[in-house]
Symmetry: C2
Amino acid sequence: MQERRAITSVPIHDLLARRWSPRAYDAERTVTREQLITLLEAGRWAPSCNGDEPWRYLIWHKARDPQGWQKAFECLSDNNKKWVKNVPLLMLSCAGSIFAHSGKLNRWTQHDTGAASLSIALQALALGLIAHQMGGFDVEKARAAFSVPAEYTPMAMIAIGYQAAPDILDEETKAKELKPRARKPLAERFFEGGWGTPVKT
Amino acid sequence: MQERRAITSVPIHDLLARRWSPRAYDAERTVTREQLITLLEAGRWAPSCNGDEPWRYLIWHKARDPQGWQKAFECLSDNNKKWVKNVPLLMLSCAGSIFAHSGKLNRWTQHDTGAASLSIALQALALGLIAHQMGGFDVEKARAAFSVPAEYTPMAMIAIGYQAAPDILDEETKAKELKPRARKPLAERFFEGGWGTPVKT
């Protein structure tokens, strides 16, 4: 597996350091049912406000349900289609809108869904798989194609499978795949002693 | 450390299985600067749509900045104050609203902030610490106290520190701490072959 570890000033946990979002997937290797269930259990145990578990996931396994997978694939942006064609497992994360226990608005649904999806991505890595979340898809097309109820917001399509060499990618996608990883300095995102005051490192 | 592992049908990664949100914190043990930076590096390398890193975190270290910490504490709900009084490190996660690269609305900011906060919580566990995110705080009070700009939404207060025995808690909080962990069945959150159709396990 091509490693592109996070570049950090102090070591972070291996699973977090090794996670990234590759585009080169092995079209010949599928995801087993046990692997899928392991991924879902990881998402299931993510934290959520009031234990509401506001997320819902739609799952398409290319080998078991080629028609469903194709319908999901058709919702993707052209740029994503270039590489997702090789992906054996697709999911769509959706965020609810109200608390089941109270019927009141839950303002943490998207926040909590993001946490559940990261859990799934980290579990993928732990299984020797890779995961890549995509915002580049047609929300209304996905909603219509899969009857996503109005009270749920489709958030991200998630590609999961085994990694392949970047050489299988078209030139444009390959350039993205090989671009060095980067993040903003800590000082621009983490404040101490007041909004905008960089954390003391 | 009191372990309350996730109850799963197949094993998930240890870090995900061991994460939960305890309330019993050791008031005598602080979080070091190096631990804090490690937590922030974990958050920093979370995935985000278009690499926008839309999250911002405010940090209050009780030992270094008791006044700031107290001001943050005052924003909490009464139920949370009961146990957060022992917490050495508090953070507030905030989600932005527009993409820096385009100036357009970023609809994934809360989603991505949830992922960054889970990264921080998992890194806490990897350092032998515990973390607990709270929705129970006064958003407008926090906004005013710390000059959070209008374009950022305060999402969660995060308690981080060392775990203590549940005996230190008041009876009501202790009962919550010892309540068995639970999640909805996979079938209620993960669909395959159509919305609402339970995944085949």
